[in-house]
Each structure stands twice: as C-alpha cells, then as structure tokens.
C-alpha cells in the first residue's frame, strides 16, 4: 500500500515530521517498507536562468554559459546540450551535488580548458525519465533560485507500507490516518460525505440471480451520470496517482482508482452507451469468456461471479472490468458501480486467473460494507466536479445492512493476556479513536466493532488493538520460571540418536552436509523410490521426496570433485521418505566417501599406501553410528550383498536376525553412472528407527566389573579355507569352541598366494583364553586348541595349516 505525505494530510491534521510518522506507522503494525523522498534526493537542484551561451573556444559542440542561480554573481557552466541558449530557464546543480542519474558527485572541473562550476541537467540526470536529448527547459515564470523539486511537486514523499492481510481498512489512506490519530499523531479529519441528490431514477436495474446457490454478491449499488465530459484528469489527481505508481488514464477511471486508494473502496465505471439492457449479477456459465481491461481473454466457470447484460458477461466481479464496456474519452453517460463481494470467492477467482488487481486485493481482504453507498456518493461528487453531468438516483440491489458485532470485554483481559496494566480511561480513548463504541461500566466494557474491521472477532483482538496503539513497550518483561514441573530429559530417544550419530561420524573425519529433501525422479527411482512426487516442484531436479540420502550425497561429492576437490567424505543424518504418511518418514544416517577419503585421513599422505575409500571404511562408519546409537553390537550380523545400487561383491547388509538396519559398500558403477558421478565411491546408510531400543533398566548403575587375577593365554591359528568362506564364520566357530574360556578372537592375517592351494585362502586368528577359576594346564590348553580346530573344520571346512 502506497500513499504520499500530502495525501495523508488530507485525512490527518498533524505537524509531525516524516520520520515521526514513519516510525509510528511501523510501531502500530503498519510496517513501513520504503520511503521515496524525491524532495530530499533532488533538494540541491535549483531553478536557474541562462544569461548567455557562447560557443566554447576549443569545441564546436560545447557552449560556455553564464548562469543566474538567484544568489551572488553569475556562474560559468560548460554545457553540451543542443538546446542550451540565452534566456532559457533550466535546472542547475552546484558543485558537490549528488547526481542521481549518474550516481556521481559533481565537482568543479575544466572542460577543454574552460572552467565549469556546476551543471545544467537533463531529465535522465535527475532520474525523471530516460530523456537525455537536451537539458530540462522550465516555463519562463519559474522562480530563479528556488528549489526545482517544489516547482514540479516532487516535494511529496511517497510512503509504502507492508500491509498485513488482516487490515483491509488500511488499504486506504483514510484508514491509515485513523490509526495514526489514535496513536496520538494528530487529528483525524474524517470529513463527512454528503449524499448527492439524484435528478432521475437510475434507468439501469440490477438483478442478483444466484438461484439455489449461495449468493456471491451481498450488495450492489449503481448510479448513472448523464452528460459527462471525460478527458485527462486534473494535475493534482494525475500527480497523486503517478506518485504511487499508477498510470493516469482518464478522469472517470482515475476517480475510481483514487477512491480505491483513498478509502479502500474499489469501484467500477461502465460506459452506459455500451451496456445493453439491465445488469445481472450471477455465476458465470462454463465456457463463457471475457476480454478484460488488461486486454487479455479469460475463460470463466460456475465458481466465478460476473456482471452481465443482455449480450453477455461485461465484468469479472470485484476483480476486473471488461474491455467492451470500459470508459474512454468519448464516454458521455457513465454507470458507477459500488458493490460487495464474498472475499473467499474473489480470492479464489483471482488466484485461478492470476489477476492481481487493486480491487481484488481489497475485496478478498474484506471492504467496509457500510461504505458501499457513501463510496458511490464520493465518486459521484468527484465525477460531477471533474466531468460535470447529471446524476441519477442510486439503485441498490441486495441487502447491504451491516451486522453489528459486539464484544464483552472485562478489562482484566489486558492483564491476563498481555501483562498490561492500563488506565480504563486510556483504554476507552484508544478504542474510541479507532472507531469502536464503548459502553458498560468501568471494568466491564461492552464494545461494538466498527464495520470496517472484519478482523476483530473476540477479546484477544481487543487486547491487540490496545497493546498495538499504547505500544508493546508498555508491557513489562516478566521473568518466567520453570515452575514445579520435574526436570526430565528434553530429548527423545530418536533425537539423542540423531545427535550422537552426527558427532560419531564427524569424529571419524566425515563432514556433515545438509542436502535437499527432494531429488530428481530418476535418482529417486534408482534408490528404491517410494517418496511422493511434488505436484508443483520448483525445478526438474527437485521433484521427488528422497527415499535415500545417498543420491544427494553422491551429487554433493561430485560437485566438490568438479571444483577440484575429489577426495571428500560427506555424511548427512536426516529424513527420508518411503511414502506420504507420517510413519513413512524415517531418519537415516548415511555417508559417501569418494576418492582417497579413508577412515584414517583424506588425501595422499607420505605415511600410507595409496588407496581409495572402500567397503571397510564405510563399514567402520556404519558400526560407529550403531555403537553411538546404543545398538546391541554383539547381536549385529554382517551379511554379504546389499541393494542393487551397491557393488554386488563389495557390499554388506547389517542386520539383527532378519531385521535389516542398513547397508554399506562400494557404490555400483552403474548407479554412479546414472547419477552422472565418477567413482569409485563407497557409502553406507542406516535407518535409526530400526535400531532396537535398549532395555530400560531400573537404575543407571553399570553391571559390576569382574577382574580375573588369572593371566590370559593367547594362541594363534592359521586355517586354509575355501576362498568363499567368511572370516566371521571362522571367528564364530572359534568362539563356539568354548564359550566360557574364549574371551576374544581377532583376525590378524588374510593371505592368498604361494604356499596356499589355488581357490583357497589362509585366515589367521588370535584366540585369547581367559581362565576363570584356576590356571590352565598345558593339557587343558591343548584340549581347547583341538576343539577350536575341530569346530572351525566342522563349520567352515578349514584345515589347520602346518
């Protein structure tokens, strides 16, 4: 919502400075977005007369002018404009002036050897237009030495407020003035609008025809003015509209725009000569068509409200008029419409057509129903003043009576909701100034809501009005203790897991990324799909809710590689989507290691062998997350293989029994190809919700620690097994040989090659035996060793190497 300072002055008597007005507007909820003060910007430019203009001694195209600036001796200015001549009046900028059109500060300079102490300006240099053909020529009666800005009426600052949708009344200058006056910034003029007496009945009737469907037009007022002379509107009106960014068209149209912004009362004018028969307000019929004032053609349907005559639709109600019945310079008889519409319907129709008109803006927020007829009277008065003519009586269709809203308001509500202690007289004054009428005793008010405030519904709204006008500063900041509630953990199990997983992964040298929750269709399908697709995505790359974090991380790693950083280890802990229900949203932890981003460090280093990140780096990452999340680590099994986006021979699935927690491994080259990424790269992904909750124990105490006084014994074994045998099976067999004595089994060597038969490999394990009750004898140790060899042989076919 834009208006000018002078416009505001027509509704508000105030001596307040522009700064004070701006500040107060913001502090009462009418947030000032922008102030354009041409008077300030062009304040240094003054009106001057060219006394003489001689040819420059060293340049044919330049002239040396002596300029009378109204003070002191004439000033010498070198000017290149073809129209600079003796006797003319123009706009002079003294040295030091900031020139808005060039963005530079003017300096005294020498042009081809002749000193120039200022400048005569073109419209472009003043940012008034793009014209740079010559300098500005002012009328001969322009007062030399006075400010140029005052001469052309630019001395009126334009204020733009960011209007919240609950305040349709402030979509008019009148309403803004009322708020400012209530806030103590002057006197609200609120000049009464006199009814214009009609000379004859309105010859055009209006019917509201909605049949059995709900009415979309609560009220409609219409008046004919005969014998008008339409043409350009007067300067004051044009200037006002231009200042707020509207294009003057002709007096009749300009009047409707003026009343729209002055009173938040949109109007429409029909050229009566182009309207055939009576007007009918009804729902559009499917397929009906309207060429609107913007020149575009709109296809209508039954949800939309229109104004039609015998020929068909002439106007899209409350949004935009039709081109066929619009007013032009030749209009002599004009029908002025002032109507009420259903806000939600206007909003819907406007949205369907993508029309953002000033009328829609106000009607969808809700205009003052009581102002329907006064608005028409005001418009009539302006038409008669500017265009002459003879008015008809007003024809009113529908029921424009306004329901009076009443709110019972105990003053204690201010204390209860806002912590504000206000004097009852003060509260009455504020509400009265805002147009509420207040009855009732001292502390129990009975408040009637003015017709222009559709946003006021209950007591909380009244509290807001009082707090808004008195200032939130009046509400004392009040300490708010934690109360009697017991101190409980503030995070849920899932939130704790998310945090722990993040820190565990970062501690392994991974860098946390936050990638989009939506990815492209192809990637989503490649990684299992299931996440719903967005109906109105912002781009073709961000269409589907991600079913996995891996594609986003692979893309992010590739972006880094494209910038020259190929060894990256990225992780993310965040939401993935297997469907559109709340329970389909899961929390995943995932990482991608690309290039030489090993778990012990990234990039080449003198201390280690070259090598790309592999399945074991990400297996370590996955296990770190599981441990951090409190998973039962001994129950976790690693099963070879994973989903199709992993390398079939270099990937694994982490599970507890049949219950899958996640996967890890090198990413399948075809998957990388499909993601347009280079490899090799390894990844893991776990779903945190799938990790079983640890058992709740009655106390936080840890199990008691038993320290054996007996020394453990370590024995090494090397088995020759088939290549396909899993190390985990060998380990498990060794553990099973004696559950109480075997304390730990470690794989310390894997070997293939010389000394091992083709198709076989050697797995070397170190077994630690922890005696429980007494030191083991050699014979007992030998017996256990034999059991280990037998058990491994039985379970894996492994043979002890000599």
């Amino acid at each position: 919502m834009k208006f000018t300072r002078a416009w505001l002055g027509e509704h508000l008597d105030t001596a307040a400075s522009l700064e004070a007005i701006i500040d107060r507007l913001t502090m009462i909820g009418l947030e000032v977005e922008r102030v354009e003060d041409k008077a300030k910007e062009l304040g240094a430019f003054i009106i001057a007369r060219v006394i003489s203009a001689e040819r420059h001694p060293n340049a044919d195209r330049l002239r040396v002018c002596m300029v009378d600036t109204g003070t002191g001796a004439p000033v010498q200015v070198v000017c290149g404009a073809p129209n600079a001549r003796a006797g003319m009046k123009g706009v002079f900028a003294p040295p030091g002036t900031h020139i808005p059109g060039t963005g530079l500060d003017l300096k005294i300079g020498k042009i081809r050897g002749v000193e120039s102490r200022g400048m005569l300006c073109s419209p472009r240099e003043l940012k008034l237009s793009e014209d740079h053909e010559g300098i500005i020529e002012l009328p001969s009666d322009a007062p030399v030495g006075k400010k140029f800005a005052d001469l052309i009426g630019l001395g009126d600052p334009v204020i733009e407020i960011n209007l919240t949708p609950n305040r349709p009344d402030c979509a008019g200058v009148h309403g803004i003035a009322r708020d400012l006056a209530a806030a103590g910034l002057g006197t609200f003029k609120n000049a009464p609008i006199d009814a214009v007496k009609g000379a004859f009945p309105c010859p055009v009737n209006v019917k509201l025809e909605f049949g059995a469907t709900p009415s979309l037009c609560p009220g409609f007022a219409l008046r004919l003015v005969r014998g008008v002379r339409n043409g350009p509107s007067p300067d004051w009106l044009q200037r006002r509209l231009v200042a707020i960014g509207l294009r003057p068209i002709n007096a009749l149209v300009d009047i409707t725009n003026f009343v729209t912004y002055d009173r938040s009362r949109p109007l429409h004018v029909f050229d009566a000569a182009k309207v055939h028969g009576d007007l009918v307000v009804r729902r559009a019929r499917a397929g009906e068509n309207l060429v609107a004032l913007d020149g575009r053609s709109y296809v209508l349907d039954e949800t939309m409200c229109v104004i039609a005559d015998v020929r068909g639709v002439e106007s899209l109600s409350g949004i935009m008029g039709g081109a066929a019945t619009g007013c032009s310079e030749t209009t002599t008889d004009v029908l002025i419409e002032s109507a009420l519409w259903v806000p939600a319907n206007i909003a819907e129709t406007g949205r369907k057509h993508g029309i953002h008109s000033d009328a829609r803006y106000r009607f969808e927020r809700g205009v003052d129903p009581a102002f329907m007829v006064p608005g028409l009277e005001l418009a009539t008065k302006l038409v008669l003043e500017l265009c002459g003519g003879s008015p008809s009586e007003i024809f009113v269709a529908g029921d424009a009576r306004v329901e009076q809203k009443r709110i019972e308001f105990p003053l204690t509500e201010l204390e209860r909701l806002a912590g504000l202690n206000a004097d009852p007289q003060e509260v009455r004054r504020v509400l009265g100034a805002l147009g509420f009428s207040v009855a009732g005793q001292d502390t129990k008010l009975s408040i009637s809501v003015p017709s222009w405030r559709p946003d006021i519904e209950g007591r909380a709204d009244i509290v807001e009005e009082v707090v808004r006008i008195l200032g939130v500063d009046r509400v004392p900041s009040t300490p708010f203790d934690r109360g009697e509630n017991p101190r409980k953990p503030v995070l849920t199990q899932g939130q704790v897991r998310t945090r722990r997983a993040k820190r565990a992964l970062a501690a392994r040298g991974l860098v946390e990324a936050v990638t989009w929750s939506f990815i492209d269709r192809q990637s989503a399908e490649l990684f299992g799909g299931g996440g719903p697709a967005i109906a109105n995505p912002i781009s073709a790359e961000l269409t589907d809710m991600r079913p996995s974090l891996v594609p986003g991380l692979v893309a992010a790693a590739q972006h880094n590689a494209d910038r020259g950083f190929g060894d990256v280890a990225l992780f993310e802990v965040g939401q993935i989507f297997k469907g559109d229900r709340p329970q389909d949203q899961l929390t995943a932890a995932a990482a991608v290691r690309r290039g030489r981003s090993k778990s012990f460090g990234t990039g080449r280093h003198w201390s280690d062998h070259d090598g790309a990140a592999d399945a074991f780096d990400v297996k370590g990452d996955a296990l770190a997350v599981l441990a951090a999340a409190g998973a039962p680590m001994t129950a976790i099994q690693v099963v070879p293989g994973g989903p199709p986006w992993y390398h079939p021979g270099r990937s694994g699935t982490l599970q507890i029994g049949p219950h899958v927690l996640g996967h890890f491994g090198e990413i399948h080259p075809r998957a990388l190809d499909a993601l347009d990424a280079e490899g090799p790269a390894a990844a893991f992904e776990l779903i945190l919700e799938r990790i079983p909750e640890p058992k709740q124990k009655p106390t936080r105490a840890k199990p008691s620690l038993e320290l054996s006084p007996l020394q453990p014994i370590e024995r090494d074994f090397a088995f020759a097994v088939d290549r396909g045998v899993k190390a985990a099976d060998v380990v498990r067999a060794a553990q099973a040989a004696d559950k109480s004595l075997v304390a730990e089994v470690a794989v310390f060597d894997i070997y293939e090659g010389e000394g091992i038969a083709p198709g076989k490999k050697s797995i070397a394990i170190a077994v630690r035996l922890q005696p429980r009750e007494k030191t083991l004898t050699d014979a007992e140790i030998e017996a256990i060793a034999t059991r280990i060899v037998d058990e491994v042989g039985k379970r894996t076919g492994g043979v002890l190497r000599a």
Binding site: V35, N345, S477, P479, Q495, S517, I538, L542, F577
Partner: protein, 421 residues
C-alpha cells in the same frame, strides 16, 4: 711364593690391558673366555688350588680369587661402556625427518554443519528454561498446516506461504510440505495436556529461491501453554534467549505489532545491532534487524486443539534457524548452506568436540586465559560478537541484507508476513 704373587700381578695387568683394549663386546667376550672360561687362564689357576696343601691354599686362595673378582669387575665395567657405545652408534644411524607432517586426526578433520551446532545451542538454551523438543513430519495435511492454525480457506494469508503440494487424492484432499513448523505445535496440543513447554525445530519448505530464500529452510518455533503465560513472559523468554544465543550481556529488542493467523496479538521482533566490517554486533548500534515473529496463541487455535481458551492461554514464536546461524556466525548467502561445498563446510562447520553455547563457549576464555596468559588477548576474545565465535566471512559472494532503514533478513526470519504482490 712371592713368585706367584708377582706372577699374578703381571697376569692381572695383562688381562686388564686386554679388557681395556677390547673394541667391542665380541672381543671382550673372547678376553673373558680366555680368562674366566672353563679353560681360561684364571680358571686353570683356580684348579691348581686343589693340589695345594691347606697352608698354601689358605695363602694363595684369596690371591687367585681376588684376581678373578678384579678381572670380572673390569670386564663388567668394560661391557657397560661398550654397550653404551654400541647403543649410541646405533641410535646415530636411526634418524628420522621429524619435519614430515603427521596426519590430522579424524576428529579434527570432521565437521558438523553449522545448522547442527546452532540447533544444539538453542536446544541447550531452551532446555535450561524448561523446554522439551518436539518434532513432526515434513509431509503434512492442509488441516494441520493451515486450517487448525486459523488460516481461513482461500484467505490471502495462505498465499503468503508459497506451498509445495502433492497430487490431489481421490477424496479431493491433498498433502503438502509444511511451510512452517507450526503443525508440530498443533500435534503437541492435540496429544499433550497443558502445561506445555516445547520448541519445535525442523525443516520447512516454500516455493521460492534467491540469495535469501531457498525452497527448503529450517525453523524453530516455541510454544507455551499454561494458566497464566502472557505477553510479558514471552518478552522475557525471547530476551533471555537472544542474550544467551548471541552471547551478549545486554540486548535491546523492539516488538512491533503484526499479523499471523494463529496468534492474537501478533508481534514481530527486531533486535538492535550495529553492522561493521567484522559482521553484526548485537546489544549496540542504531540498526534494527528483524529476527522473529511471535504472539499469544489465538483462542481459536486453542479451541481447535481441544483446549479451553478461558482456562488456558499461552504464547508461541518462530524464527529461522538458518537466519540466526547467519547472524551469529557471519555467513552471507543462505544457498551455500545446502551446496555442501567442502571449503564452506570446513570454514563454517564445527569440530565434533566443539561444545555448543551455554555448555561450552562461555567457559572457553577461562582456559584460553591459562593457555595464553595474555590479558589483552583474552579480553579481546571475551568481547561480545565475532572474535570468539565467528570465522571471517568467505570471500567471493555479495551480501544483500539491507533493505530500508533497518536491517532485514527477509521474510523467512520468522513466520512469514510478506505479501505476495
């Protein structure tokens, strides 16, 4: 007998000379064997004792045994010397280039995204004030995202949220991506009886993209419902939060009336600040920066959630996590949060052992003081603002924060209020 005595003396000096002359442990060993070995010269002498008369034995025994002891001691001493020499010689060949760089430990190389750190910081601050953390799904119903929050159907307030929708279902309903975390407030109020004190951090989505808007961003909202929570309490909580989060002792905030469908009265909050080449300093300066939206929960919203607005009341607020992260740590461009550029993450990210504010940062100057012992430096590090917390800005991207008169970080600082026109 004097013969034997002088013989032994000569013998001893010969052997001792050989011991001294032994250049390495092997040579010394052969001297030892020659003297003390089974067939060594001293061993042979000892054997002669057996053939002597008791008197001779009494006289010569100590002499020969004394010789043996002296030689043994000399050999042992020489052995120590030679051992030490050998060790020194070996160590002299065992040099490494200690200037070679060591690997950075993974815990130093890893980074947490600033959003994670800021999320932990604000969780700690609000936990201290008795708030729990509530979360909800990103894919929401129209009812939870709008209707129950008192957005009238077709009202322009809905247009302020550029919403991502999912395709319409056969029953005409359509799901959407939540445009704010307010639906979590609804879910909380529907499932928990007052008193309620929660914060709701999470991902939110709007169809918008430029330097200060991304289609995905993060919000944290707060909700308090009890029998007496009022606007004054809200002001206090927000002031306490800003002081703790921005780590300043004083903060000046400006509460401006505004409009959100789900609160009444509604306020927007600006924080006083000064902007200079090092970033934004709070608690001083002439500018106002909009950081959040808040208000008393609308009675209709309470009713919609089955809470009696005459018995219970409360307030709520919302702000952009990305925004406050930018303000505190000095990032210029929101889009960079989601680009996963390693350089950006390493620069603006946090080490896994960096403790969040309240738990960590406040204590840091103490150990810095011990470590550095430089009072001036410590004072500088204790200053409110950037020295302690914010890395210098990454070069190369323009900053566009200023709009009119006061600082404004665009509309996603809070619950959106900007018009779509």
């Amino acid at each position: 007998m004097s013969d034997l005595k002088s013989d032994l003396r000569q013998f001893e000096s010969r052997i001792l000379a050989a011991v001294t002359a032994a250049a390495d442990e092997a040579a010394l060993e052969s001297v030892r064997v020659a003297a003390l070995g089974k067939k060594g010269s001293i061993s042979e002498l000892l054997k002669t004792l057996g053939g002597m008369s008791p008197e001779q034995r009494k006289e010569n025994g100590p002499l020969i045994n004394g010789l043996k002891d002296a030689v043994s001691a000399a050999i042992a001493a020489r052995k120590d010397v030679l051992k030490a020499q050998a060790l020194d010689a070996r160590l002299n060949t065992e040099t490494v280039d200690v200037t070679l760089p060591v690997r950075e430990p993974p815990a130093e190389a890893g980074r947490l995204h600033p959003l994670t750190q800021v999320n932990d910081e604000l969780t700690a601050i609000f936990a201290d004030m008795g708030f729990a953390v509530a979360e909800g799904p990103d894919i929401e119903t129209d009812e939870y995202n709008f209707t129950l929050l008192n957005f009238p159907a077709s009202h322009p307030a809905r247009d302020m949220h550029d919403t991502f929708f999912f395709p319409e279902k056969p029953d005409g309903s359509r799901l959407l991506l939540r445009t704010h975390t307010s639906p979590v407030q609804i879910r909380t109020m529907l499932h928990q009886k007052p008193p309620i004190r929660v914060i709701c951090p999470g991902r939110t989505y709007r169809r918008d993209s430029d330097q200060t808007h991304t289609p995905m961003f993060h919000q944290v909202e707060g909700l308090v419902i009890d029998r007496q929570a009022h606007l004054g309490h809200l002001k206090w909580i927000l002031e306490e939060f800003c002081k703790a989060f921005f780590e300043v002792d004083h903060v000046k905030m400006r509460f401006r009336p505004s409009y959100f469908p789900f609160t009444e009265p509604s306020l927007e909050v600006d924080i006083q600040c000064r902007r200079d080449k090092d970033g934004i300093r709070f608690g001083e300066g002439e500018d106002w920066l909009e950081i959040l939206g808040c208000g008393m929960v609308h009675p209709k919203v309470l009713q919609n959630c089955g809470i009696d607005p005459d018995a219970f009341q409360g307030f709520a607020w919302g702000m952009g996590i990305d925004r406050i992260a930018m303000l505190k740590y000095g990032m210029a461009d929101l889009r960079a949060f989601f680009e996963a550029d390693m350089r950006w993450l390493e620069h603006y990210g946090f080490r896994p052992l960096d403790l969040p504010t309240l738990a960590g940062a406040r204590g840091r100057p103490e150990w810095v003081r011990k470590l550095v012992g430089d009072e001036a430096l410590v004072m500088k590090m204790c200053l409110p603002g950037r020295e302690l917390h914010s890395p210098p800005p990454l070069r190369g991207r323009p900053v566009r924060l200023r709009r009119t008169g006061r600082w404004r970080v665009a509309r996603y600082t809070a619950w959106s209020v900007e018009e779509p026109r």
